[in-house]
């Protein structure tokens, strides 16, 4: 029937709209922004054309003569200047003569315009000549033009003889807003800092994943599996605490533990060691804590998945093995671990993605320090785009870095969907009418 189809579309519409607007759009926009050189310096909503000293330096390599000319003031006898001269309260003949004989003339240098003014019928004094010439100073330097058209008409008005190609170059070098570029990606490929961050990321994911998310989680699950129910649920409860605790408090607790006025410092002080910041002391210490902080959170999910998978193993297998005289170790080795293959694979896949994207804990704990020792890719993207101590937030570069994560995420998850046999997940609906 048609009604169920319509109802389906109506009911899924809110989800679709939200996901498109607040999930897909940002991802697409990230791709767009990654192709720009958008920063706080260029602004985010387009710029103006301004012949500033630094743009002239850029222009010098392409067109040295024009750059030098632009650096000099130009003098144009125009109506605005004439009005200003009239307002100076000099002899009225000066303005009148200038208007009659010289309107529209352009003088490339101060010397030229002053020679002309001196030759006027009224013969102004040297001081007056300077005053008058100043009214016609029409330097392009540091004037803002909202559009290319305004820039070009100003250049034409000042008598610059430029070909269209030259104009385009001038427009390009004097534009203060962001432009399209693929520089971000070549910068990422070349920069040694990025290589370092990439290495950090791989190290971070590998260490946390193997030591905690899988290794320790499996250990916890097996140990609590064999425990009487009360201690088992106590330990599970303890190891779930990091996951339910808001990340800010959780990291605060670790800071209290490792800070120079914190628990470890006080404890070591009892043995005569001077207090120090164990968290940011050396790169090794920072890594140690970063792995612990994230690992303690990650262990819980693996523990739950593995525990429930172990519960699903038929008890008869354990009884049978017990009768045959198997030790605990043999039970683990030959009964539990072989049946844990899928849960382990699932946790590994899932947590790889989570770890790649996670940076909250590191941001709050070490903020990537000491130096750049614990800066991982996601944190680096965040720093580049949103919290840069150098002051200039590089939105474009940050977006490009984030895009790399998106690509990795999509590729990996498509791979996982394949591994986990996506077809069974989207079997046809139960009722169709």
């Amino acid at each position: 029937m048609k009604s169920s189809r319509t109802l389906g579309l109506v009911m899924i519409a809110p989800a679709a709209v939200m996901i498109v607007l607040f999930f897909l759009m940002p991802v697409v926009l990230t791709a767009v922004f990654s192709m720009t050189n958008m920063t706080t310096a260029t602004g985010i909503s387009g710029g103006v054309y301004q012949i500033a000293p630094n743009s002239l330096i850029a222009l010098k390599s392409a067109m040295p003569e024009i750059a030098t000319e632009m650096a000099e003031p130009r003098y144009t006898i125009d109506e605005a200047g004439l009005k200003a001269v009239e307002g100076l309260g000099l002899a009225p003949g000066i303005a009148a003569e200038l208007r009659a004989k010289h309107t529209g003339e352009v003088f490339p240098a101060r010397r030229d315009v002053e020679r002309m003014i001196k030759d006027l019928a009224e013969r102004p004094s040297t001081r007056e000549v300077k005053q008058i010439s100043e009214q016609f100073n029409r330097s392009v330097l540091n004037t803002r033009f909202d559009s290319k058209g305004q820039l070009f008409s100003a250049l034409d008005g000042l008598g610059f003889q430029l070909t269209p190609e030259q104009k385009e170059i001038v427009a390009k070098t004097t534009y203060t807003g962001w432009t399209w570029t693929s520089d971000n990606f070549s910068r990422m490929a070349r920069s040694p800092d990025m290589a370092r961050v990439l290495f950090n990321t791989v190290l971070y994911v590998a260490l946390v994943l193997t030591l905690f998310n899988v290794g320790y989680a499996l250990l916890l699950a097996i140990l609590t599996h064999y425990m009487p129910p009360t201690p088992a649920s106590i330990f599970r409860g303890i190891w779930l605490l990091p996951r339910i605790t808001p990340v800010v408090i959780y990291v605060l607790l670790w800071k209290w533990l490792a800070w120079d006025s914190g628990f470890i410092s006080i404890l070591m002080g009892k043995f005569g060691y001077p207090p120090k910041n164990y968290l940011l002391d050396t790169a090794y210490n920072a890594w140690f804590f970063v792995v612990l902080i994230n690992g303690f959170i990650g262990a819980s999910m693996g523990m739950l998945v593995f525990s429930s998978a172990m519960k699903a193993i038929p008890k008869s297998q354990f009884y049978a093995s017990e009768v045959d005289g198997a030790s605990r170790w043999q039970q683990i080795r030959y009964i539990i671990l072989p049946q844990m293959r899928w849960p382990i694979l699932f946790v590994t896949c899932y947590q790889t993605l989570s770890l790649l994207a996670s940076f909250n804990e590191i941001l709050l704990a070490t903020n990537g320090g000491p130096g750049n020792a614990t800066e991982v890719w996601a944190l680096s993207a965040y720093h580049t785009a949103l919290r840069n101590y150098a002051g200039n937030l590089e939105y474009g570069l940050g977006a490009a870095m984030a895009l790399v994560l998106v690509v990795i995420g999509v590729v990996l998850s498509l791979l996982y969907l394949r591994v986990f046999n996506y077809g069974t997940l989207v079997a046809q609906p139960l009722i169709e009418d």
Binding site: S4, G8, M11, P228, P229, V247, S358, L405, V406
Partner: protein, 280 residues
């Protein structure tokens, strides 16, 4: 659990329990001292407290200079998590039903897409949304953060709800349809009550996730008027010069207590989510 009540002869549990306790010690210590330090006085180099005090809780009745009022911030946090939760619940309970039972075009694609979306790093969303909000001038408002946070939780919510709907026997719906109820009516009055555990799980998960969310409000709504507790507390954390751990801990405990209560009351529902997976 296998023979949990009678440990057999080839196994004694106390060495294992001791070992696990030692490994869990850092966590236990941290949470124990989180509570202790907020109500006691301690000499700077002492490990044990020397007296009781309520001074660390002074933030409750006096506002730290340059900081927002704690009750205002708490209200914002509550508003933020409650709105996010309702949005996620409504939207994903509808979408999950559609994906589980109704045949819509591009259903498989939608499901796979939702799965893939879950893998998208939130840093992508933050950077782009920050720029967009700056462009349109909606930066520093709670509504923007709520929508973004809800969108981030949606993929998980939709998948979870779909899973729960899949377990509802289709005879229930068939009966309703045969009796002449519309599909919408069947969903509202017959199916929805069947997936209550799922709704509870998702509600609790979204609420806790919203309550603890840090990076989105930090970037998109850092202003004092719209600040949430995580940003408020992080303000202390980032301030390296002025470390009053005891007061931070009091704020932290104040912030953590609702989480612990909610968790203690409803943890069996929440396990449905954490067992199935979430970020972290």
């Amino acid at each position: 659990m296998a023979e949990q009540s009678q440990p057999s002869a080839n196994y004694r549990s106390w060495p294992v329990i001791t070992a696990l306790t030692i490994v869990s010690l850092p966590l236990l210590l941290m949470y124990l001292y989180l509570f202790l330090d907020t109500v006691t006085v301690k000499q700077p180099d002492a490990l044990l407290p020397s007296g009781l005090t309520l001074n660390h809780w002074r933030f409750l009745w006096q506002t730290t200079p340059g900081k927002a009022n704690i009750w205002h911030v708490t209200l914002n946090t509550l508003l933020f998590s409650a709105c996010t939760t309702s949005l996620v619940l409504i939207v994903s309970s509808m979408a999950g039903y559609v994906l589980s039972r109704l045949n819509v075009p591009a259903r498989g694609f939608f499901l796979a897409g939702v799965m893939v979306l879950h893998a998208f790093p939130s840093v992508t969303l933050i950077i782009a949304i920050f720029i967009v909000l700056q462009m349109i001038g909606l930066y520093n408002s709670l509504i923007g953060v709520i929508l973004v946070k809800a969108a981030i939780d949606l993929p998980l919510g939709i998948w979870l709800m779909k899973g729960f709907y899949d377990t509802v026997p289709w005879e229930i719906e068939m009966a309703g349809v045969v009796d002449g109820a519309s599909r919408f009516r069947v969903w509202r009055s017959l199916v929805l009550p069947q997936v209550k555990p799922g709704i509870m799980a998702l509600a609790l998960f979204s609420f806790l996730a919203g309550w603890g969310e840090f990076i989105l409000p930090q970037v998109l709504a850092p202003g004092n008027d719209v600040q949430v507790l995580s940003v408020y507390l992080a303000g202390f954390l980032f301030d390296d010069n002025n470390y009053d751990f005891n007061m931070f801990k009091a704020v932290g405990l104040f912030y953590l207590v609702p989480v612990l209560i909610a968790y203690a009351l409803f943890n069996k529902y929440l396990m449905n989510i954490y067992g199935g997976g979430s970020k972290g």
